[in-house]
Symmetry: C2
Amino acid sequence: MEQKKDNTEEKILNAAREVFVHKGMDGARMQEIANEAGINKALLHYYFRSKEKLFDAIFSKVIEFAFPGFANIISEETDFVTRLGKFIDAYFEMLLTHPFLPGFIIKELNRDPSGLFKLIAKYGFNPDFVLKEIEQAMDRGEIKRMDPRHLVINVISMCVFPFAVRPILNYLIFKDDQMAMSAFLGERPEVIKKFVIDSVAIKQ
Amino acid sequence: MEQKKDNTEEKILNAAREVFVHKGMDGARMQEIANEAGINKALLHYYFRSKEKLFDAIFSKVIEFAFPGFANIISEETDFVTRLGKFIDAYFEMLLTHPFLPGFIIKELNRDPSGLFKLIAKYGFNPDFVLKEIEQAMDRGEIKRMDPRHLVINVISMCVFPFAVRPILNYLIFKDDQMAMSAFLGERPEVIKKFVIDSVAIKQ
DNA sequence: GTCTATATCATGATAGAC
DNA sequence: GTCTATCATGATATAGAC
C-alpha cells in the first residue's frame, strides 16, 4: 500500500510537472494531468486537495531545481574568470536538459510573483554575496570595474533568454531545423564566456 | 453613430490590451475586459465575435509595435558601432514605456507560437539582412569576427531579459524600491553599449 | 449599438460505492 | 486507494428587447 501510494504520488507529480511547465497554471487542466498520470481526476484531489496546492508543490520543486546551488561555484578559491566559466557551464547543462523552465518561470512570475518570493525567503537565498565576490575580483584587478549587478544580469540574460524565446529562434533563424538549433545552443556557453571575458578583461 | 462606434471599439481595444498583456490569453476574463472598458460582456461579442478573435486583434497590434522598424536603423550609412548604439537606445525607449510586453510575448509565444509565425510571414520580417550587415562590418574590420547570430542574440537578451523577470529583480535586488529599479533600468542602455563594444572592439 | 437575461458548456471539486 | 457519477460554479457565447 505504501508502495502503491508512493508510486501513484510520483506519477501524479511527474504528470503535473509536465502539464504545468508546458501550459502554466492558467492553461493546465486537471483532466489532462489525470490522463497523463493514467488515473482519474478524483484521485488527484485525493492526493492534493486542490489544483492550487498541486501547482504549488510542482512550482517549489521546479524553483528548487532551477535556482540551484550553482552559487557555491562563485565561492570557490580560484580566479574569477575560472569560476565564471564553471558557473556558465553548470547553468547551461541545467538549461539544456530542461529547456522549458525559463518560459514557465517567466510566465508564472508575471502572473503571481508571491509564490516565488515565499520560496526565496524560505530558502534564504540572497544574491549579495555574489555581488561581493565580483567586487573583490575587481578590487584585485582581475576584471574591469563595473556595476556588478549589471554584470550578473548580463550573464544570466545571455544564458537564459534564448531558451525563453526558443520558438522564435526555431522559426526565424533555424527554419524549424532542430539539429541546427541544438548545435547553436550547445556552442553558446563557450561563446558567452568569450564574449564576457573579452569585455571585462583588463587590457595589457 | 460612426463616432460612437469608433469610440467604443477603441475603449474595448484599450481595455483588452491592458487585461491581455497582464493576464495572458488563458488568465484573461471577458468580464474583466468589459468592466475595464465600462461596457458589458455582450457588447464585446458584438464587436469581436469571440475571445480568440479579440485576442488576435490585440496580439497583432502588440507584435506590430514590439517588432518594429528599428531594423531600418541597422541599414543606415554609418559605422556599425554607431548604428548598434542607436538600435539599443530605440529598443530601450520602447521597453521602458511598455515594460510588460516581454513577459506577455514570452508567455503567448510558449503557449501557441503559430499566431506569431503567421504575423512574421505576413509582414515578411526576415533577420537575414541584419546578419549580413554585421558580417560586412566584420569584413571591414570594424568589429571582431564572431557568429553574427550569437552577437544579435546577446544584445537582444541583455536588453529584453531584465524586463521579462522584472518582479524578481524588484524583489531580490531592489527590495521593492521602484525608484532604484527604474534608475537601474535607465542606465542599462549605456551599460550594454559599453559592454558589447568592449567585447567586440578590435584591439589596437 | 447597447442592454438584460439566458443558454451552453467546461472545469474544479466532492460524494459515495468498492 | 481508486473508481464512477454528480455537483456547483464560472466562463464564453447568444437571444431578444429597446
